[in-house]
Amino acid sequence: MCRNTAILLSILSLCIVVCYALSHLHDDNNPFAVPIFILGVAAISRFSDGYVCGIAASVIGVVCVNYMFTYPFWVFDMTLSGYPLTFTVMLLVSVIISTLTTQVKHQQRLMYEVKSESMRANLLRAVSHDIRTPLSSILGATSTLLESQDLDETARRDLLLEVHKDAQWLVRVTENILSVTKFSADGVKLKLTEEVVEEIVGSAITKFRKTGGSISIQVHKPQDILLVPMEATLIEQVLLNLLENVVFHGKCATRIDIDIAEEPSRVCFHVSDNGAGIAEGVLPHLFDGSYAAQDGTARDDSRNMGIGLSVCQSIVAAHGGGMSARNNPSGGATLSFWLPKRGGTEPS
């Protein structure tokens, strides 16, 4: 509202100033006044929201032209011959342009909604895929345990282990979904605090070890203690997802390297492994969740690929950073993300 009023006032005053300056060149009826005000009304309708400003501008414009720039000056003369025409033209211009502008804005919003809707749909598809598989396995295993009496101890134990593993898997999926709800709800902002980078990395590794990750991890960090504004639990989740991603998809990976690199305006984290690498066809879709959503052939090895990495992507984006993935020339893959050093810019 404030913005609209500001636009209205500034453009109208500009018109008045211009007309006033020009009126010194022409002593009689100022022939520029009407087109200049029509231009002004058009501009106001274009840059303000809704119709009100445009219509108000045309009314004020007609009054100004009549009062200040038409003979007799400084007098209202409603009987001038061109008056109704001028008024109608200005009004029409304002209404037409306001309508166009409003339509364009509406269309843009629709486009945006469609885009975020499809992102959400992708994520939901990935989530339900990630949940359904372990759930069916849990259901199957438990009903076998309940119904078959003649299972031997090893078989029972195997089934129970499977249930345990799947339940842990579900916990991971839930953690990921939870971390997204921490910031994707409307009006929720990240609570950024300055965190010691190596502490968060260490904590992520500890969590990774707790869930059974046994791959050797080397951390390469700068000598100075780095502080970066972030929401610590979310970045911890990103790191944990990247580490687990290696376990689930790196196949034969035997070591992980975490490189923390400080640059003038940002801090980069590279998580690389010496595993099987990422199929070239998958690379471009790695972070948008659409890969897991394709389903079908990608059943088991797409586990966590979809939701885990797209969650990373949205967390990093919410911090004003970015993510990328590439295959190493020497084998294996590197997934990287960076965070801005000074207070993350809010994404639009």
């Binding site: 300055e194 190596e198 502490e199 968060i200 260490g202 590794i205 500890t206 203690i225 639990t233 975490i258």
Partner: protein
Amino acid sequence: MNVRDKVLIVEDDEGIRKFLSTTLIANGYSVILADDGKSALELVSSHCPVCILLDLGLPDIDGNEIIRSIRSWTSIPILVISARTTEDDKAGALDLGADDYLTKPFSTVELLARIRTALRHARTPAGNDELSLTGSYHVGELTVDMRKHRVFLAGRDVGLTPNEFRIVSLLAAHAGQVLTYKYILRELWGPAASSDNKILRVHMANIRRKLEPNPDEPIYLFTEVGVGYRMADSEDFPPDSHI
């Protein structure tokens, strides 16, 4: 005959209650159950359990209210078990006087370890037996010598600054328990300490670089991200582990 330690389980979900009581009974505790806050408060005063497992999301009374009310008259260890996941919730419950915090889902191993830690602290007011007897705290290869103000790793002085030592000794006195940033700041720099914990973090990073064999995978000083720090205790070094 051994008298079993009595644990009060306050939990409104039947499945979790069952799993908790089965686990505890199988591990040598006796169990009393409450499914809401009101009966929990009654059972605490009538049965005097040695430890309380408390779910924060109860139907009648807010869990934090229960902590406050129990803390007003007794120091029975309270272990919060909750599905609430924000770090502020955890820190809030700890600052109110809860001894520890487990977020659902958790493993039984973890649960039993935390109960043992809580009971040990409750029984030896000085923090832990060893500390009160010898004036130093040992865990793994780490020794915190409270008298000489030195910290040794495998017999070698790690060379902490006085401030760093104060942090380590505070954590050692409460080994096994999570201390919130707020608590540590208040204990070390007084009630007027700023709530900015950046300095504490930097100290902590320096401490880790000095006393952890591998600072990237800490085994003595753990971070509870967004909540605080915890010093390892004997539970983190089970006799059969390879660490």
